[in-house]
């Protein structure tokens, strides 16, 4: 009844107002309407920020009243560990309580588990209507379609022509994965060579990639080398992911079937100059625990490279680039290279593409 009276009153006043506006300056700011008791709330800035009360923690203590284990004594037939309230210890959240000082917070009831009656009755209400045989597969699909997404990606991070002193060469660095949010099968391959010569170095890795935190994956698997020198097989263990400040990191250690231990760390960063132009600095360090003369690897820091690639994103999945890279060997690696008549290091001009699908 009260509702009717209020709305009738509005119905009478509003058309009059409307009529007036219809013939005149309807674009000017409308007058504060009498029936609107919340005129003061219209401006977002006017939303009152109540002065904090003398005790900012008023009302925060109630979670402490909850027993340490709110489910003690309740019969929890299904996966009790999944209960979000298990081991509840909300008092820590006290400073985060958004209701501090708000009138509604004063009546905020304590966090508590459901009453016993809420756990009564059938596990699945629809089973009683449609039958468990019909509902069980539908529930399986429901779960499957709400979180269990499997997908994949192939990324050719670099496929490039390298112009340098001596014979020009080429290089590639690609990876692909398939899987869910936590576990993926990951394949990686990289290599380089000079045109008209036997492939300098190539490798392929097959890894189980397992998410260990929101940004990093632990990777374990095998690496197979091919190219000049003996083809080695390695056990690979690494981490790959996104470090703070948006650095892409890939670090791995390898143990070959000959017992050689090597390691590699790569980092790259995308600096967006414009929406389409991206400058990517990149660095890679390789280490070895021992000399591997047949592969021209010396112990310690064996090689380092630093590159700068400027790519133009034709579309997010396809970007040609130009770049430069400096690479050199250190210590025994440098010595082994010089012994073979090569330079310890040098510059390359790069022209390549980055693509994914």
């Amino acid at each position: 009844m009260k509702r009717l009276i209020l709305l009738l009153a509005l119905g009478v006043s509003a058309p009059a107002l409307a009529q007036h506006q219809g013939h005149g300056a309807h674009q000017s700011a409308p007058p504060a309407e009498a029936p609107d008791p919340h005129a003061g709330h219209v401006m977002p800035k006017a939303a009152p920020a109540p002065a904090p009360p003398a005790d900012p923690h008023a009302g925060h203590h109630m979670p402490e009243a909850a027993p340490a284990d709110p489910h003690a004594g309740h019969h929890m037939p299904e996966a009790p560990s999944a209960d979000p309230h298990a081991g509840h210890h909300m008092p820590e959240a006290a400073p985060a309580d958004p209701h501090a000082g708000h009138d509604m917070a004063k009546s905020a009831p304590p966090v508590a588990p459901p009453p016993a009656a809420a756990l009564s009755g059938p596990a699945h209400a629809a089973d009683a209507v449609y039958g468990a045989e019909a509902m069980a597969p539908a529930r399986a699909v429901l779960r499957e379609e709400h979180g269990r997404i499997r997908t994949g990606k192939v990324l050719i991070d670099r496929l490039e022509y390298r112009s340098r002193k001596g014979r020009d060469g080429f290089a590639w660095d690609a990876e692909g994965w398939y899987g869910g949010d936590i576990d993926k099968l990951k394949l990686k391959s990289e290599g380089e060579g000079a045109f008209g010569e036997r492939l300098e170095h190539g490798e392929a890795q097959a890894l189980w990639s397992h998410a260990i935190d929101p940004w990093f994956d632990l990777q374990l698997g095998l690496r197979q080398d091919f190219g000049q020198g003996p083809d080695r097989t390695h056990l690979a263990l690494g981490v790959q992911g996104l470090a703070p400040y948006w650095f892409e990191l890939d670090a791995a250690a390898f143990v070959s079937t000959k017992g050689d231990v090597t390691a590699r760390v790569e980092a790259e960063y995308d600096l967006r100059l414009t929406g389409k132009l991206i400058l990517q600095p990149e660095a890679e360090l390789q280490f070895s625990l021992q000399d591997v003369p047949e592969l021209r690897i010396g112990s310690g820091l064996s090689t380092a490279e630093a590159g700068l690639r400027l790519r133009y994103q034709v579309k997010p999945e396809f970007s040609p680039y130009l770049g430069v890279e400096y690479q050199r060997g250190f210590g025994d690696t440098a010595r082994l290279r010089r012994t073979a008549g090569d330079d310890a290091g040098g510059w390359s001009l790069l022209l390549g593409v980055r693509a994914w699908f």
């Binding site: 409307a18 674009q27 309407e33 509840h88 509604m104 009755g121 629809a126 699909v141 100059l273």
Partner: protein, 580 residues
């Protein structure tokens, strides 16, 4: 007022093509209320009414912007037909599934028995290919609602439409004419590919990132502290919506911006616009430049009229507004929250008119407030002496403090908001300085007192969690696929549900089968809703009388968040008898 002659010429061409029969098969078909120029729904009977309503779900082509793509529709149109019912009647909705896959229709916002709610795997088994399912229930409410598929990605593909229920008695809102306005997002990509791209590269659809050039141009004004904090957290301050105008054409009643859906009026009339956000992944900012909107209902429930110039509408929310247009045409603008595109329609006294369409505004940029660092984030760092000290405090703040929450913080949780706050007085991302009146939840006051005056006896905390980089979305750190414990209520229990958003995205959270009262300070007259936006770094509470026994879905209505796992089953027991 400028008139976009190019668009009009284009439309004329389209019309000529249609008259000539050329390309007729490619042109979209619309139900009468959504046709390109419509006098409105009042006194029209092309809508579906009565006790028996037949709906056919099928594949079909859909065209917009000169392209045609694959769609899944109800009765062959996008949006589907307007279902118009009357409070107090019974209805039987016969849904004929002509697809080769299961389908379902959920009656969004309708109070129905749980087995008629239309969520496969929760309320019923779904509608098998080439079979018919009949939904039957009494209509116990009135207002503006909608319906959509809850199966696979069918909603994104076009399976949605409006549903309006007239009150049993006189309508308390006086109006001369009404238009139903369904907002949505259309893509020519396969919906599975949207998800795939986001899993491959979470920022794939964001073409508005910060760049060095913009920084040098003085755009993207962020304090050094904010910039460093976002980079340290590996969070993109321009990640406002996951799928953007790069993939979407924003539709109004199935019409793209160039196709200019036009709602007709006579100057001076009180025109009721029943606005439904039926988009899969888009939160819209709705405004009609030059025409204030008097909000009279939200989610079908009456509120005390409040006049604003802009409303942020989350997915699945509905708003009824009254406008009183004068002479001339007005642009109805539904701008995507990230400003990557807009839906545009026209309100005009005659067909063929067009008002100036405002340009897209500068896209918003997230702040530390959106990171759940509380209100001090709103202060200007660096200009005051306190700024540096505060920035240092922020730097030291633990942004993933597992001790703050009662659940396991795993791979799928990239942030725990250290100081989440009540943001019910905020207008929504990017509208803080819109320069005009923007609706906030605090402006909404139920027109009638809340029926259940009991104080809630307990609080249930629901933590909205995610990992932006891996595009993982969850509740309390768990995806639905991990078979989490349902949220359990006792029948008729009075409970407060407090959602805490630990992510930097706005989540429109929807509870099936119930209305709840959004806790916004207007105790006793809290606005009554079925879907509520929870802003980044915010807490949002609602009070609920769990009076509908059965199993219900509770989820984020950004459909790809839901499919990524941000969903729970809610149980209300006992099934029979009166508890509490």
């Amino acid at each position: 007022m400028t008139i976009d002659t190019r668009a009009i010429e284009r439309r004329a061409l389209l019309r000529a093509a249609a008259l000539g029969g050329a390309g007729l098969g490619l042109l979209p078909l619309f139900p009468a209320w959504a046709q390109s120029g419509t006098p409105g729904t009042v006194r029209q009977n092309e809508t579906l009414t009565g006790e028996d309503i037949r709906l056919t779900v099928n594949h079909g082509p859909f065209s917009t912007g000169g392209r045609s793509g694959h769609s899944v529709t109800v009765n062959g149109t996008i949006p589907g037909p307007l279902i118009r019912l009357r409070e107090g009647q019974n209805v039987r909705l016969h849904v004929d599934n002509r697809l080769d896959e299961d389908t379902s229709i959920h009656w969004h916002g309708l109070i129905v028995p749980f087995q008629m709610d239309g969520v496969p795997g929760v309320s019923f088994p779904g509608i098998k290919p080439r079979s018919t399912f009949t939904y039957e229930f009494p209509i116990r409410q009135s207002g503006t609602y909608w319906y959509h598929s809850h199966s696979g990605h069918q909603e994104q593909s076009g399976l949605y439409g409006p549903l309006v229920i007239d009150p049993a008695g006189a309508d308390p809102v006086a109006y001369d004419r009404e238009h139903v306005i369904v907002l949505s997002d259309w893509t020519f990509m396969h919906p599975h590919q949207l998800m795939q791209r986001l899993k491959q590269e979470a920022g794939f659809f964001n073409r508005q990132r910060t760049t060095l050039l913009r920084r040098l141009q003085g755009k993207d004004r962020m304090s050094a502290a904010d910039r460093a904090m976002f980079a340290k957290m590996r969070m993109d301050p321009t990640d406002i919506l996951d799928v953007t105008g790069a993939a979407y054409t924003y539709l109004i009643n199935g019409h793209g911006p160039d196709e200019n859906w036009t709602g007709l009026f006579k100057p001076g009339e009180r025109v009721r616009l029943r606005i439904v956000n039926a988009a899969a992944m888009t939160i819209f900012n709705v405004r009609i430049p030059g025409l204030p909107m008097e909000v009279v209902a939200s989610d079908g429930q009456h509120v005390r009229p409040v006049t604003v110039d802009e409303i942020q509408i989350g997915n699945a929310e509905t708003y009824d507004v009254i406008v009183t247009p004068g002479e001339g045409a007005y642009s109805f603008v539904a701008e995507a929250m990230d400003r990557s595109g807009m839906g545009v329609a026209t309100l005009a006294p005659r067909q063929g008119m067009r008002a100036a369409v405002p340009p897209l505004r500068e896209r918003p940029i997230l702040t530390m407030k959106d990171m759940g660092m509380g209100d001090m984030a709103g202060m200007d760092h660096g200009t005051q002496d306190g700024g540096t000290a505060m920035a240092m405090d922020h730097g030291k703040m633990d942004m993933r403090d597992e001790s703050k929450v009662p659940f396991e913080v795993g791979v799928g949780v990239d942030m725990i908001a250290p100081m989440p706050m009540d943001r019910s007085g905020d207008p929504g991302l990017g509208l803080e300085n819109a320069g005009h009146r923007v609706l906030t939840y605090r402006d909404l006051v139920s027109a009638v007192p809340n029926p259940d005056t009991r104080a809630p006896t307990r609080t249930v905390e629901v933590h909205l969690t995610g990992n932006m980089e891996r595009f993982m979305w969850s509740i309390d750190g768990k995806k639905l696929s991990e078979a989490p414990e349902p949220i359990r209520f006792e029948r008729n229990e009075r409970v407060r549900v407090t959602m805490i958003n630990h992510t930097m995205m706005t989540h429109p959270m929807h509870l099936h089968g119930h209305f709840f009262e959004v806790v916004n300070g207007h105790s006793g007259n809290h606005p009554v809703k079925h879907t509520v936006r929870v802003l980044p770094g915010a807490t949002q509470s609602f009070d609920l009388t769990a009076d509908a026994p059965g199993d219900w879905a509770f989820h984020c209505h950004l459909m790809l968040h839901m499919h990524a796992g941000m969903m729970r089953v809610v149980t209300v027991r006992p099934m029979y008898g009166d508890a509490a």
